[in-house]
C-alpha cells in the first residue's frame, strides 16, 4: 500500500522564469530594424518561488492573469525550462526527466483539449492507452472504472464535437486519469461550465482525491473551486507567492467583514454605528457591511433591535473574489513598498 504523506509530491525552491520579449516597432521599417538589431526586454514571469506539497493534498494556486500561474504549472510539468531554481515532482526534476514524469502525472488544461475533436472519446482513450503503454487488461479495468465513476457510458461513442462542454470536461479529466497518475494538475477545470456541471466536476475531483489519494494542484479563476475543493491555498501575484495558508485561515484572517441584510418590521430613518457601513437602505430593507474587528455581529443586532423589530435577517461572508482582490492589491502595494 502506498502511504499518503511520507513523500513530498512537489518540492519547489527558488523557481524563476525570465522570458525575453522581442520588441518591434510597427511597419516594415520596424520589422527590418528588429531583424538587424533586435531590442530585447526581459520579463520576470516567476520570481524565485518556493513551496512544498504533500502527497494526497488538494491545493489551490490562484492569482490574477499574468501573475505566473501558468508559467509555474508549465515548469512543474516539464513544458518550460526554468531560468533558475529547483523543483521536483514525485522525486523527478520535470524538465530533465520529462518523459518519466509524464507517466506519473496527469494534466487538464481547461482551455486546451486533449480529446480528438472529430472522434468519439473512446478512440482518444484507446490512443492514450498506447501513448502511455498501458497493458490491455489494465487499461480495460481502468476504463470501466472511470466510465462508471464519471458516467461516460452514454456518450463514449459520440464524436467529441457533439458533446456539451460539461460532458467534454468529464472526458478530459477521465482521460488524464487513465494511467493512474499520482499528481493531477488542473488548470481552470471548470472554465465556461454552468453551475450544475461545475458541481459535478468538483464532486468528481473530490472523490478521486479521496479514493486514490491523488494529489491535486489546481489553478482557477473561480473562487468556488478553491473553496469547495481545497484545504490549502497559495496566492501568486507578479510572479511572487504572496500568501500560502489554509482556506479556513484565509477566511478567518481576511474575511473580517460580514454582510448583514435585515428586513425590519417598521421603516427607520437612518442607522449609524461605529464599524458599520450602510451599503443600501430602502425603507425597511438594510444591507450593512460590518467590520467585525470593531463591532461584533451581536452588538450590531442589539443596536438594530433598539430601533425596530427585525422581520428577517441573513448574515453572509462577502464574496471571496472581493477578498482575493484585496489581497492582490495588498501584495502589490507591499511589493512596491520595498518589502
Amino acid at each position: 500500500m502506498r502511504q499518503v504523506g511520507d513523500v513530498r509530491a512537489i518540492e519547489v525552491s527558488g523557481l524563476t522564469k525570465v522570458f525575453e520579449v522581442r520588441e518591434k516597432s510597427p511597419g516594415l521599417a520596424g520589422s527590418v530594424r528588429a531583424i538587424v538589431s533586435p531590442s530585447v526586454r526581459e520579463v520576470q514571469a516567476v520570481n524565485g518561488i518556493s513551496f512544498q506539497v504533500d502527497e494526497g493534498e488538494m491545493l489551490a494556486f490562484i492569482g490574477p492573469n499574468g501573475a505566473g500561474k501558468s508559467t509555474t504549472i508549465k515548469m512543474l510539468t516539464g513544458i518550460l525550462y526554468p531560468t533558475q531554481g529547483r523543483a521536483t515532482v514525485l522525486g523527478v526534476t520535470p524538465w530533465e526527466d520529462r518523459q518519466r514524469l509524464a507517466g506519473k502525472i496527469g494534466c487538464v488544461f481547461g482551455q486546451r483539449s486533449q480529446l480528438w475533436y472529430h472522434l468519439p472519446p473512446c478512440d482518444t482513450f484507446e490512443l492514450l492507452a498506447h501513448v502511455y503503454d498501458i497493458p490491455k487488461p489494465v487499461y480495460c479495468d481502468r476504463l470501466n472504472m472511470l466510465v462508471d465513476w464519471f458516467e461516460l457510458g452514454e456518450f463514449m461513442r459520440t464524436p467529441v464535437r457533439k458533446l456539451s462542454l460539461g460532458q467534454r470536461m468529464r472526458c478530459e479529466i477521465a482521460a488524464s486519469l487513465l494511467h493512474g497518475p499520482r499528481v493531477l494538475f488542473l488548470d481552470e477545470p471548470t472554465i465556461g461550465l454552468d453551475v450544475v456541471a461545475k458541481r459535478a466536476i468538483r464532486e468528481l475531483i473530490r472523490q478521486m482525491n479521496r479514493e486514490e489519494g491523488v494529489t491535486v494542484f489546481l489553478t482557477s479563476h473561480d473562487v468556488g473551486d478553491m473553496e469547495e475543493l481545497c484545504r490549502r491555498v497559495m496566492i501568486i501575484s507578479h510572479g511572487e507567492l504572496i500568501l500560502d495558508t489554509s482556506v479556513s485561515a484565509l477566511r478567518r484572517d481576511y474575511l473580517r467583514f460580514k454582510i448583514v441584510r435585515v428586513r425590519l418590521a417598521d421603516a427607520i430613518d437612518r442607522f449609524e454605528m461605529r464599524g458599520v457601513t450602510v451599503a443600501k437602505h430602502k425603507q425597511t430593507n438594510l444591507k450593512l457591511s460590518v467590520d467585525t474587528d470593531v463591532a461584533s455581529i451581536d452588538d450590531v443586532l442589539t443596536e438594530l433591535m433598539r430601533h425596530a423589530r427585525i422581520a428577517d435577517i441573513t448574515i453572509a461572508d462577502p464574496p471571496t473574489e472581493q477578498v482575493i482582490a484585496d489581497i492582490y492589491g495588498r501584495g502589490a502595494s507591499e511589493a512596491l513598498g520595498g518589502r
Binding site: 522570458f19 508549465k74 510539468t77 513544458i79 520529462r98 494534466c107 482551455q111 472529430h118 472522434l119 501513448v131
Partner: protein, 271 residues
C-alpha cells in the same frame, strides 16, 4: 541487453507508436468518406497531370542534359512518394513552425513520449497517400520495373522521406529562435519541392551546390534517381549516411530549441 539490442528495441517501440497514430489518423479521416476518397483520388490525378508538361517537352527532344523521359518520371515518382509518405505519416511536418510559435507543443510535452515524433504523427494529410500511390504507379507504368528496382525505389523513397521530414523539422525549429518562422519555413520547403520537379542537369555552379546542402533536394530526389538509373553501393551508402546525419541534426536542433520553448496561451482543440 546489449546497446544495439536496446536501440533496436527502442526503435521498434517508436515504430509501433508511429503505426498506431497512422491507423488512428486514418480512422479519423474516414469519418468523412467523400473527403477521404476525393483527396486521395484527386491527388493521384493531380500528380499524373504534372507529367503532362514533360510529355510535351519529350515529344520534341530525346533528353534534357542527359535526362530521359523515364528519368524525369522516376524523379517525380520519388519526389511524390517521399513527400506523400512524409505528410501522410508525419502530417504536421509542414506546420511545425506554427506549432512551436503558438505553444501547441505543450500537449506533446505532457505525454510520456518523444515530443517531436509525437507532434509530427498527430495529424495525417490524407492526400499524401495519393502522392505515394502515384509514385508507385508512375514508376511501374512508365519505367522498366523489376522486383529489385521496386525494392530499391521503396528504399530510396523512405530515405528521401526521412531527409525531407528532417529538413522540415530543422526549418520548423527556427521558430524556437525567432518566433514566427512559418513563412520562411514554408518558403524553404517550397523551394525544395520546386527544384525537385526539374532535372538537376539544368542547374550549374553555386545553385547546384546549394541543392546538395542548404536545400538538400539533391538527397531527396537527384541522388535517388541516379541510383534508380544505375545502382552503386557507394552512392547508396552516401544517401544512407546523409539520412542518418539529417536525423541526428534535426533531433539535436529540436532539443536545443526546446530549452528556449516559450509555450503560449492559445485556446485550441485537437482536430
Amino acid at each position: 541487453m546489449s546497446t544495439v539490442g536496446k536501440a533496436m528495441g527502442g526503435a521498434a517501440w517508436e515504430a509501433g507508436f508511429v503505426w498506431e497514430h497512422f491507423k488512428f489518423n486514418l480512422a479519423s479521416a474516414m469519418e468523412y468518406k467523400w473527403s477521404f476518397v476525393s483527396q486521395v483520388v484527386f491527388m493521384v490525378l493531380n500528380d499524373f497531370l504534372l507529367l503532362f508538361f514533360w510529355w510535351l517537352i519529350f515529344g520534341k527532344v530525346q533528353d534534357i542534359g542527359g535526362w530521359t523521359f523515364a528519368d524525369v518520371i522516376a524523379m517525380h515518382a520519388v519526389l511524390a512518394a517521399a513527400y506523400g509518405l512524409s505528410v501522410s505519416v508525419f502530417g504536421n511536418v509542414n506546420r511545425l513552425a506554427r506549432i512551436i510559435a503558438e505553444g501547441q507543443l505543450d500537449y506533446y510535452l505532457l505525454l510520456p513520449r518523444n515530443p517531436l515524433l509525437h507532434a509530427l504523427v498527430s495529424r495525417s494529410d490524407i492526400s499524401g497517400l495519393g502522392d505515394a500511390a502515384f509514385g508507385l504507379a508512375a514508376l511501374c507504368l512508365f519505367t522498366p520495373v523489376t522486383w529489385g528496382r521496386l525494392a530499391l525505389f521503396i528504399a530510396v523513397s523512405v530515405a528521401a522521406c526521412t531527409v525531407y521530414t528532417c529538413f522540415a523539422v530543422i526549418t520548423g525549429s527556427i521558430a524556437f529562435f525567432i518566433g514566427n518562422a512559418q513563412t520562411i519555413s514554408l518558403q524553404l520547403l517550397g523551394a525544395l519541392i520546386t527544384f525537385g520537379g526539374y532535372p538537376d542537369s539544368i542547374f550549374k555552379g553555386l545553385v547546384r551546390a546549394v541543392l546538395y546542402s542548404v536545400v538538400p533536394v539533391g538527397f531527396v530526389v537527384y541522388l535517388p534517381v541516379s541510383l534508380l538509373r544505375n545502382f552503386s553501393a557507394a552512392r547508396f551508402s552516401g544517401l544512407l549516411a546523409f539520412t542518418v546525419a539529417m536525423v541526428w541534426a534535426a533531433r539535436c536542433l529540436f532539443a536545443v530549441g526546446l530549452r528556449r520553448y516559450e509555450s503560449g496561451n492559445l485556446v485550441s482543440a485537437k482536430i
